[in-house]
Subunit: 295 residues, 3 copies
Amino acid sequence: VGRRFDTISFLSDLGLRDETVGVVKAIVRDMAPHAHVVDLGHDIASYDVRAGSLALARSIAYVPAGVIIAAVDAGIDNGRPHIAIEVAGGDGVLVGPDNGLLAPAAAMAGGAERAVLLDRDDFHLASAGGSLPVRDVYAPVAAHLCNGVDLAELGTAIDADALLPGVVPLPRDSDDGGVVAEVLWVNQRGDCQLNVGVDDVAPWASADGAKAQVVAGTGDDAVTRVVERVAHAGRLGPGSIGLVVDPAGMLALCLQRRSAAEELCVGAGDQVVLRPLAEGDRGPGVTSSVELRAR
Amino acid sequence: VGRRFDTISFLSDLGLRDETVGVVKAIVRDMAPHAHVVDLGHDIASYDVRAGSLALARSIAYVPAGVIIAAVDAGIDNGRPHIAIEVAGGDGVLVGPDNGLLAPAAAMAGGAERAVLLDRDDFHLASAGGSLPVRDVYAPVAAHLCNGVDLAELGTAIDADALLPGVVPLPRDSDDGGVVAEVLWVNQRGDCQLNVGVDDVAPWASADGAKAQVVAGTGDDAVTRVVERVAHAGRLGPGSIGLVVDPAGMLALCLQRRSAAEELCVGAGDQVVLRPLAEGDRGPGVTSSVELRAR
Amino acid sequence: VGRRFDTISFLSDLGLRDETVGVVKAIVRDMAPHAHVVDLGHDIASYDVRAGSLALARSIAYVPAGVIIAAVDAGIDNGRPHIAIEVAGGDGVLVGPDNGLLAPAAAMAGGAERAVLLDRDDFHLASAGGSLPVRDVYAPVAAHLCNGVDLAELGTAIDADALLPGVVPLPRDSDDGGVVAEVLWVNQRGDCQLNVGVDDVAPWASADGAKAQVVAGTGDDAVTRVVERVAHAGRLGPGSIGLVVDPAGMLALCLQRRSAAEELCVGAGDQVVLRPLAEGDRGPGVTSSVELRAR
């Protein structure tokens, strides 16, 4: 008998427009009444495995010991199975698809220790029609884990090294001494988290009060502005664009009480170049796509 | 004293934009702290009793023993009361309006065994103003049921046969050997569930790989396309429209990683005709509203 | 040692698009596993402290004994601290920013009895980057309160009278015997709650069946219509605008099965004038912005 768990953290792209998330929780309540479900969110865009993997990675340090269900399907039948991965000395088990969704969180939790294919049908629920893995596989498997079923019973052991890795975009240096970054995430307020930390813009934009240039987006739609390093958006002047270290430790673009994503016309996955400000560029923020077209 | 319950499943059209759902759960927490609320979703469109009844019917097989609150008001004062219905040998009690919302789920759970009007005010909460039944009646009644109050104490017994039935649209045969169906539900991904099962399109579109014609919508806006029976949308070619048996056992229109509802310009309640493909129609999917106008 | 609590009610502007709300609940689950979180809603518009304070005030009578986390940040660094306020003889502790958000609810719960600045870092969580008060301060503080830590241990005692008051707009009399009101809140159905009660329109529009004039909005966009006092919207004729006493005890504009906010082109914060109907105005509802421009 394995360790019993009493918390299931749950992230998905299922949305809350219909009853699917509720059905998953109903199954858990029915099969493992002592287990409590913590919703980490269900508004990952359909098929956006990367967005799901990043949200899970941002959450993992705060997730209690227990099972984590993560359900974001790439929408392409790649023949890869459903899996469960044990991490953190057995404190956590990640349940989901083998499409890279679980990989960044598993890595942050110390790496996969044991992994199984979820190929034991007797631990799944039968469907009245087509399969809905989150309902038919992940929910009952998570409930069984909470009830003390050991990972090894749930399916065939697999080599964790054979699992599909996650894709986290890396920044690169630009020709002009800056960094070519990418928007990883736009939060509720419109702040744009980048895939760079404060060290990536040292020393030219690392200190509070420093100014730099940002080119958001590419091509004709690129927007070029001056940004100011500040401790938080509330200290910016109206309309000024700030570069903050966000609560996850990454650099993020922001404005005071306004959406940086709207102001700069960018969203998750879009390119953002940060570079040192040339002499003469320290005036008020200007918008120019001409400069970019000329490159 | 009746049976005690410890789970309340909760479906409504209240949305999550304001605090109403939270207030219902606060009342339950206050009156029956041992009871756990499972949200089956709150994004049923306002006044859409049919959509609510279908969501409840899709959920009911997964709902744990306990109380079910369902709150979708037709928005017309029809003088019909609030009711509670016992189903499944006492394992479940449905609480909600007598407007057909509860009927399909009750039928799927074996039919109403006992039913009462919720006309005992001493089991309700007083309002500071107008009545909000989900807050003033359903929440406290559900809490009392969880605390062991028997159904019979909550109001006047009524004949379950006198309750308003639900409205589930039935498909009909078309003149040309097909079936005139209706979109019951569009899920988060845009898959369009129809009110037909695989038997309704046998033998011409029942087997995997079979092709058929779909006419989605009516009149000038109708879209005519070829659909392919597949096991799931992930196996479709890009842009191809699939006909799958969905996780609830019904036929659904889908695309690979795209919304069938957007592609075909249909939503819940819209007509969809499926019919055998004539010789010569097996080319790539084409859009034509001319054909329909000519009928 | 203070009193232990087992419920945390939680209101915020965090939205459910990302994992932040889930992370707060994960922290609570980890630190105080016995505590149950009741979500009062997370869709307060970013920076809209007034909307948050009103939602909290509407909820407070229904909230169980325990901790209340309220997180709506004005988005401007005003140097005001994070606070906790004890109310209702110790039955409740409100945790949040000192920006007026908590004030109306605290007043409705009998007023602040003790208050502290949350300036004891050892009760907070460290951040990997910038501070996210709801995650780093409010969540762990709420968990500590549930675990029996007394309010006084959490920080420096402050005078409750020094806290920033809430801003609740008051109606005023109009020149023509009516009342100049404001939309406080638009609910899921589009009903527009006003900041006036039935006494404010007595005797000319207080009785069921009475008719009055409404001017919604200001300037060229103002819409003038006849409204009818009814017990609830379901009794209105199609297209007629009703004035009801809503479930919170305030007057609200509504239509049968339609959105009053859309019909009258108003939202929260917009002006609405109610006034007695002149002779000759009792015809069918008419839309006229001319009349307002002439004032």
